[in-house]
Symmetry: C2
């Protein structure tokens, strides 16, 4: 073997090029550097760093940032993990403060899954799927069926499943909002299919623009793309926007006209501060009612998750998607695809059930549940507003008022000297800005380029989950110094 021959079977030049092409900035280089800082500080090193804590504002990870889990959920989960505790009803109730409905729910879930350590059906435990269907019915006022609900490993695995089935060839295209949560573009890269980007309208609080969608579609078709689906994230990630009813209706009408599957990523459906969340399912059923026959064949997949909302149980990896209007033969292929990975985490499935069927008014655990839920929601709103107010103080930073989800996505204007320096360092200007922010403040955000943004505009995404106001102060101070340095 000559010394220049590759020594290993795999090297960076011969592995799957589509995996290499994928970009996922949310856990990219910035996040890796922030973890290095965190590790350094944890070891008591890092006296040279200009901050004493790292703030992970790059990812919606509520419990990492001190959000307390909902007591009812975790009490039930403790019994699911150790069902032998149910033999000590007295101790649970008298000494540990468990309420009767906690025990009752745990017993019911155990009957449904037998054991959280056993595989369930690949589509998820039937009883839990029925419970999800009932939630959807209450939410929308239209029937739903557990047979059309697929429990998943967070919403991400649901998106992955749907895209695997839809993307038939390299010319297949899926319309993706820009900016977007990069799961979509990353998955399309891995699948060697085409992203058909359509720009959200920053001037209209990041709403959808039918014109932008139509233009993007026509351009893609002219380029030979077989556009099969349109993804919408509502409330928006990274934008935080909550879509008005008219936007939703327009998207559905356009999808029906062009025969596109609608993939509605609705994981932030309870994270809404302004107005009211309208599901794509409800909007579709309204349309179908208004014009019978016209929308019967529209295919809609709606995704939800335990990771966000006031639940924030992302570490448990639970979620679901509902399929509406799909051909049964296609649904069977979806089932087969998910069965290869056996089943979603069963405890995560139970958390889905708890999320969609929380204690009701009058039940023993209701009062505490209500208080915890409301406190989290109002806390998020308070933090979002505080952050928004901080951005208002910052020169050259523009931001819409918080509407929903867990993010703000401000526009930033960066001085030409900074753009020049970024170029020298081989970075996009917003990325350069975010690295500088991390190095100066310990606050990790994600550069707008990680989500896509209109040519010539720059942004960053930050969660508003971190408690306190110290970290927002750090950002404001950094920004001033950054402008000064490059003025």
């Amino acid at each position: 073997m000559s010394s220049s021959a590759p020594r290993r079977a795999l090297n960076i030049d011969n592995i799957n090029p589509h995996v290499k092409e994928a970009r996922y900035a949310v856990r990219g280089e910035l996040a890796v550097r922030s973890e290095e800082y965190r590790a350094k500080l944890a070891k008591g090193e890092g006296k040279d760093l200009p901050f004493d804590t790292v703030i992970a504002a790059n990812i919606g990870n509520p419990q990492q940032l001190d959000q307390k889990p909902i007591t009812f959920f975790r009490q039930v989960a403790s019994l699911l993990e150790n069902p032998l505790l149910l033999e000590h009803e007295d101790v649970l109730i008298k000494s540990l403060g468990y309420k009767a409905d906690v025990l009752e729910r745990a017993r019911w879930l155990l009957k449904e899954v037998k054991s959280v350590g056993a595989y369930s059906q690949s589509q998820g435990a039937p009883g839990i799927r029925e419970s999800v269907a009932k939630y959807i019915e209450r939410r929308d006022g239209y029937p739903a069926s557990g047979s059309e609900v697929y429990l998943s490993n967070g919403a991400s695995s649901g998106v992955n499943t749907l895209m695997h089935v839809i993307c038939a060839k390299p010319e297949t295209g899926i319309m993706v909002p820009i900016p977007q949560y990069p799961l979509y573009t990353a998955t399309l890269s891995v699948l060697n299919a085409r992203c058909v980007p359509y720009y959200l309208d920053e001037g209209q609080a990041w709403g959808t623009s039918l014109e932008a969608i139509r233009t993007a579609y026509d351009k893609a078709v002219a380029e030979g793309t077989d556009v099969k689906a349109i993804a919408i994230i509502n409330p928006g990630n990274p934008t935080g926007a909550s879509l008005p009813a008219d936007d939703i209706k327009s998207v559905l009408q356009f999808a029906a006209e062009k025969k596109l599957v609608v993939v509605a990523d609705e994981v932030y459906q309870t994270n809404v501060f302004i107005g009211e969340f309208i599901s794509f399912k409800k909007a579709l059923r309204d349309l179908q009612k208004a014009e019978p026959g016209k929308y019967d064949d529209l295919e809609l997949a709606s995704l939800h998750s335990i990771s966000k909302g006031m639940v924030g149980e992302c570490g448990h990896r639970g979620g679901y998607f509902e399929l509406i209007g799909f051909d049964p033969a296609v649904a069977a292929e979806i089932y087969k695809f998910i069965s290869i990975q056996l089943c979603p985490p069963v405890l995560g499935q139970c958390f889905v059930e708890l999320m969609v069927n929380p204690p009701k008014d009058g039940e023993p655990s209701y009062e505490l549940y209500r208080k915890e839920y409301d406190d989290i929601l109002s806390g998020l709103k308070k933090r979002a507003t505080a952050l928004y107010d901080a951005f208002k103080q910052m020169e050259g930073v523009e931001c819409d008022s918080p509407q929903g989800s867990m993010y703000l996505f401000p526009t930033i204007h960066i001085p030409p000297k900074a753009v020049e320096q970024a170029k020298k360092e081989g970075r996009a200007p917003d990325e350069f800005y975010c690295f500088r922010m991390l190095d100066a403040t310990g606050v990790c955000v994600v550069a707008g380029s990680g989500f896509g943004q209109k040519e010539g505009t720059l942004h960053f995404r930050t969660t508003f989950l971190a408690p306190g106001t110290d970290w927002t102060g750090r950002i404001v101070k950094f920004h001033q110094e950054f402008l000064k340095e490059f003025s």
Copy 2:
């Protein structure tokens, strides 16, 4: 729109053909029918059925078949789910029988993950990865590093990750043992890459045959396949075989000669009844020690899981893979790929830690742990032997004595008239036999064709997890009647 125009965006003819090609018999048509029988019986219907229970012997799902979880694991998990219980140390210890080491472990794990509801690093929580590395060191007597351990969502997601990175183009081939657990072929189908089958040697207790491997490799290369990896399942699935040291050594030497990545699926490493499990990692390090320099660049990925063994916590979806000898740039792409799906279930990660670091002799929970572990192992061995004995009574059925894993994979000989009838019904003969078995007995097994088998041979795979002997009696009786019907 003409009435013959497709009504929907997606139909069976335009979805991803590679998803359609995938076959995964473990949860296929037989399993679906068995679930229908189960649902029927649960509703109190099914008086017409010739059985009163359905036995899911198609899948290694221990806790669905009444295997009790390990008490220590579940006690710790209950505290991870509800950390507030740790404030009631007295109640836990005095009233609920929790031992001090349960509380201690829960506190340590909570420190490592902060909350089981929070995302961890995509590779898994660092402290848990270190614990896995220590386990590997104890097992093999060679150093291991947490930085080379990747926690996963069961072992299946690990296989999926590795194959995604390895399969660069349609000509890429991965050597897969036949018979095999169909995750491998299904994933290769989805990735549109080539399966390079090599036959295990049924005459040698389903061991590997270097000759068979070499022949399969040469044939594939002659056909233009770029063979990049070889997968081995040890102990075997579906075969139950436990590989001798010489087989392992030969595979490693062959892989080094041809520059192949070795993918060692070792999820049954503790399910060994005969001889002793030897890991591919240990065998590789032994080789490297014996002939310094010669094997330095061999790439090995070794997979393990909480689903099997005496743990049997498959519903929690935990596992890991260790990468040995991989190029850091390739490992970085593996990291990026897994980061797109965020992280494996954090509670599943904690179960991995509990599995690799169970109570030690002298610790308060040790005695019970040891007893439970030994009881499960001896129970499995007893059931395997009982099933093996039942097969010995059956005419035309040949089976190796149980060696390991959770399966037996007997050869069956089917009368020509039955083969004819199978053909009429459009089924493979072994599949026909298994459907007949299910319909007559309620016992669901998987036909050998679902795993691949040598031309002209027929088998089925059954777990030996189901308790009692009634169900084995049902199989024996069915077999007699089947032979009679088609004689």
